[in-house]
C-alpha cells in the first residue's frame, strides 16, 4: 500500500509499445495473470453453496448454472476485463480496468443476491469461487488505481469508489436473501451491541496508548538510560501471545477489583482487554515518538534554542510538529492491530465482534463467523485509510 513512487509495478518498457489501433503488443502481465486466474476460478470453483439448513454442508453451484436470461449481462464486465489486457497502457486503460473490475465485483455480488432471492428457502452462501473472484477483482482494481500514481487522497477515494457499488447493493436490500444477511437480520441487536463494544475497546485503547505512549516516548528520548530498558521491556510484551497476556492480566485485575470495587473494573471483560491491547500498542507508539524526536535535524534544534525559544516552546512548536508524521504512522499500525486483536478479547468476556466470530466457530456457522469478521476487516481498512489521510495532511507542506 505504501509503495514509494517510482517503484511502481513493472510497466511494459517503452520499446515494447508497438501500439497499433490501441492494442498493445506486450500485455500487462500482472493484469493478464489476474484475469487468467479469475477465469480458472470462475470455471473450477463453486460460486455459491446451497444448503437446506445451517448444519448441513451445502452443495456447490457453479457460475455456468447461474448465468441465464438477464444475468448474462455479467459477461459484459468479464469480457471488458479480458479486453483490457490487450489495451495500450495508459490512463484510459487503467480507468477502464478499474471501472470494469468494480462492475464485475458488484455483478458477482448482485448475482448471488438474485439467486438467493429466487430460491427463497434454505441457506444460500458465498462459495469458494466467489471469494477467490472477489479478491482477484479487488486486486485488479487496486493495481489499476495504484498505477495511476494517485496521491493519498485520490487513491483512497478511488478505492472507495471501486467498492461503492457493493455497498449500495448491501444497503438496498438486494442481498437480503443471502444467509449472511439473514444472520444479520436475526441478530441485529446483538450485532449492533457487539459493534459498539468493539469500537469502545479500540477507542479506549487508542486513548490510553496516546496518553501513556507519547509521554513515555518523550521521556525515553530525554533520558536514554530509561528509554533503553523501556523499549526492551515493551519488546518482550510484544512477544507474549495475546491470549496468554489476556490470561495473565486476569489475576491482578481481579485482585484490583476486589480491593477497590468502586473502580468498576474486573478480571474479565473490558478492563483486561483494554489493558492488554494498550500494552501491545505501546511499543510502536513509544518507538515512533522516540524515533520522530531523535531524527530531528540537530541544526533545527540548535537554531530554535539559539534564537531564544524556551524548552517548552521548542517542544510544542518544533519537536512535536516535526515528529508528528512518524507518530501518526505508529498510531496507524497500532489501531489496525488493536482492531484485529480485539476479536480475541471476546474470549475473556470483553464482547465485541469477536463474540459473534466465536459463536459462529463453536456452532460451525461460517456465515456467523463472516458476520463478525467482515466488519472487523472493514473497520481496519477504514481506520488505515483515515490515518493515511491524516499523515498525508500533516506532511502536505514538507519536502
Amino acid at each position: 500500500m505504501n509503495r514509494p513512487r517510482g517503484a511502481a509495478l513493472p510497466w511494459p518498457a517503452a520499446g515494447d509499445r508497438r501500439a497499433r489501433g490501441g492494442l498493445a503488443a506486450a500485455p500487462n502481465r500482472v493484469l493478464l495473470v489476474l484475469v487468467l486466474a479469475s477465469a480458472a476460478a470462475a470455471f473450477g470453483l463453486p460460486l455459491l453453496t446451497q444448503a437446506p439448513n445451517r448444519l448441513v454442508t451445502g452443495t456447490g453451484i457453479g457460475l455456468g448454472a447461474l448465468l441465464h436470461g438477464p444475468r448474462l449481462a455479467l459477461l459484459l464486465p468479464a469480457a471488458a476485463l479480458l479486453w483490457s489486457v490487450f489495451l495500450r497502457p495508459g490512463r484510459v486503460q487503467l480507468l477502464w480496468t478499474a471501472g470494469w473490475a468494480s462492475a464485475w465485483l458488484a455483478g458477482l455480488v448482485a448475482l448471488a443476491g438474485s439467486h438467493a432471492a429466487a430460491v427463497d428457502s434454505g441457506r444460500t452462501s458465498f462459495g469458494g469461487g466467489f471469494w477467490v473472484l472477489a479478491v482477484l477483482a479487488w486486486l485488479i482494481a487496486a493495481d489499476a488505481v495504484q498505477r495511476l500514481r494517485p496521491g493519498v487522497l485520490a487513491r483512497t477515494l478511488g478505492l472507495a469508489a471501486v467498492l461503492s457499488p457493493v455497498v449500495v447493493l448491501a444497503l438496498s436490500g438486494a442481498l437480503d436473501g443471502l444467509s449472511l444477511f439473514k444472520e444479520y437480520a436475526n441478530r441485529q441487536e446483538v450485532f449492533d451491541a457487539a459493534l459498539g463494544r468493539h469500537l469502545q475497546i479500540v477507542g479506549l485503547t487508542l486513548a490510553a496508548t496516546l496518553l501513556l505512549g507519547v509521554p513515555l516516548g518523550v521521556l525515553a528520548h530525554r533520558r536514554p538510560a530509561f528509554g533503553g530498558p523501556l523499549v526492551a521491556l515493551l519488546n518482550i510484551v510484544q512477544t507474549v501471545p495475546s491470549i496468554a497476556l489476556f490470561g495473565l492480566l486476569m489475576a491482578p485485575l481481579a485482585a484490583l477489583a476486589l480491593a477497590w470495587p468502586g473502580l468498576g473494573i474486573g478480571g474479565v471483560g473490558l478492563a483486561p482487554a483494554v489493558v492488554a491491547l494498550t500494552l501491545y500498542s505501546l511499543l510502536p507508539v513509544v518507538q515512533g515518538t522516540l524515533t520522530g524526536l531523535r531524527e530531528l535535524p540537530p541544526a533545527v534544534l540548535e537554531a530554535a534554542i539559539g534564537m531564544g525559544l524556551t524548552p517548552r516552546q521548542v517542544f510544542w512548536r518544533v519537536e512535536v510538529p516535526l515528529a508528528l508524521p512518524l507518530l501518526l504512522s505508529a498510531l496507524r499500525l497500532t489501531t489496525v492491530q488493536a482492531i484485529g486483536l480485539a476479536v480475541v478479547a471476546a474470549l475473556i468476556g470483553a464482547g465485541g465482534l469477536g463474540a459473534i466470530v466465536f459463536q459462529g466457530l463453536l456452532s460451525s456457522a461460517i456465515d456467523l463467523v463472516l458476520l463478525g469478521v467482515l466488519p472487523v476487516v472493514a473497520f481496519a481498512v477504514v481506520a488505515d485509510a483515515v490515518f493515511a489521510l491524516l499523515g498525508a495532511w500533516v506532511q502536505r507542506t514538507r519536502p
Partner: protein, 310 residues
C-alpha cells in the same frame, strides 16, 4: 559591548577554551578564525549561553550574562548557523518572524519587518514570503537564515560559519551582503569561520585562535603586516601575505586623480589585488581608473601598489 574575561571551558580532560579574554567593541565586525578544535565555535556559543562556561566572566553591556534568563539574552542576539536550521514546517515569512513573535510584536509590525528583511536580503517578498525552506536554493536558505537572525533588530549578531556550505559564487554574494548590512546598520557582528579570505574580507577586527587561546587579535592589516609569530604567518598564508594585504585596500586609496592612461580601466571600488592581476594580465604599468558610474577618475601606476596609502 561583550567582555570575555579569563573564560575557560573543558570537556572532561579536553580543554576547549583556556583562560580566554576578549573585548568585542560595539559596531565592530569581529571575526573569530582558527582551525578545527581552536575553540572559536565554543567561544561564540558561550556568548549566547548555548554552551555554559566553566570559569571566568562574560559581560554583555557590562552585566554578567548569567544574570539573564538564557532565552532573554538569546532573543537580544541574532543567531545564524551553517546549516541554517530553518524550520521546515514553517513558511519563509514565519521563519523570519520567529523572534519578533516570541517578543510579542503586533502582527502588522511583524509583517512589515518580514518584508523589509526579505527586501534587504534580495529576496522579493511577494515571491518568497509564502515559500517553504525546501523550495529554496542553498544560498536563498542562508539569506533567510540571516534575515531571521536580524528580525528583531538584535543588539548583536552571532554567526557560526554561516557561509561554509555554499558554493564560492553564492558565498561571495552573501559576504558582500553582510558587508552591506554591517555598513548600513552599524550592528555588532561576531562571525566564526575557518576561511582566511572570508575573514580578511569581512572583519574589521580579526581574532586568530589556536588550542583554545587567542594567538593574535587586531585589524586584518595589523595581522598581515605585523604577525605576532610563525603560526600567524602560516595561517595567513606565508607566501600570499602581500597579495592578501592588497586585497584589503581599494584602488581609490592610491588613485592619481586627473591623470589619464591607455588600456582597460580599473574600478575605483575594486581591490588592489584585482588591480595587480590586471597589471600582470595586460603587461602594463599604468591603467586608467573609472568610478562606480563608469566615469574616468584618474589612473593607477604599478609602483603605486608598493606606496603606503595616502
Amino acid at each position: 559591548m561583550i567582555d570575555i574575561q579569563n573564560v575557560s571551558k573543558r570537556y572532561g580532560d579536553a580543554v576547549a577554551v583556556q583562560d580566554l579574554s576578549l573585548t568585542i567593541p560595539r559596531g565592530e565586525f569581529t571575526v573569530l578564525i582558527g582551525g578545527s578544535g581552536s575553540g572559536k565555535s565554543t567561544t561564540l556559543k558561550m556568548i549566547n549561553r548555548l554552551i555554559e562556561h566553566d570559569s571566568g566572566r562574560i559581560l554583555f553591556n557590562g552585566e554578567e550574562i548569567r544574570r539573564f534568563r538564557p532565552e532573554e539574552i538569546r532573543r537580544r542576539m541574532g543567531y545564524a548557523i551553517q546549516s541554517t536550521g530553518l524550520f521546515p514546517h514553517w513558511t519563509v515569512g514565519r521563519n523570519i518572524a520567529t523572534v519578533p513573535q516570541l517578543l510579542g510584536w503586533p502582527a502588522a509590525r511583524i509583517a512589515a519587518r518580514v518584508d523589509e528583511l526579505l527586501h534587504l536580503l534580495g529576496l522579493p517578498p511577494d515571491e518568497f514570503r509564502e515559500r517553504r525552506p525546501h523550495q529554496l536554493s542553498g544560498g536563498q536558505q542562508q539569506r533567510v537564515g540571516v534575515a531571521r537572525a536580524l528580525a528583531a533588530d538584535p543588539e548583536v549578531l552571532l554567526m557560526d560559519e554561516p557561509f561554509g556550505a555554499l558554493d564560492p559564487i553564492t558565498r561571495g554574494a552573501l559576504q558582500e551582503e553582510m558587508r552591506r548590512v554591517h555598513r548600513r546598520s552599524g550592528k555588532t557582528i561576531v562571525l566564526v569561520t575557518h576561511d582566511i579570505d572570508e575573514a580578511l574580507g569581512l572583519a574589521t577586527r580579526l581574532v586568530l585562535l589556536d588550542q583554545g587561546r587567542i594567538v593574535q587579535a587586531g585589524t586584518p592589516a595589523e595581522l598581515l603586516t605585523r604577525p605576532a609569530n610563525d603560526f600567524v604567518r602560516d595561517f595567513l598564508g606565508r607566501s600570499e601575505r602581500g597579495i592578501k594585504l592588497l586585497g584589503l585596500q581599494t584602488v581609490a586609496s592610491r588613485l592619481r586623480p586627473g591623470e589619464t592612461a591607455e588600456g582597460e580601466p580599473l574600478q575605483a571600488e575594486g581591490s588592489l589585488r584585482e588591480a595587480l592581476s590586471q597589471f600582470v594580465a595586460h603587461g602594463s604599468e599604468r591603467l586608467p581608473v573609472v568610478d562606480a558610474h563608469g566615469r574616468p577618475a584618474g589612473a593607477l601606476h604599478f609602483a603605486d601598489l608598493l606606496r603606503p596609502a595616502a
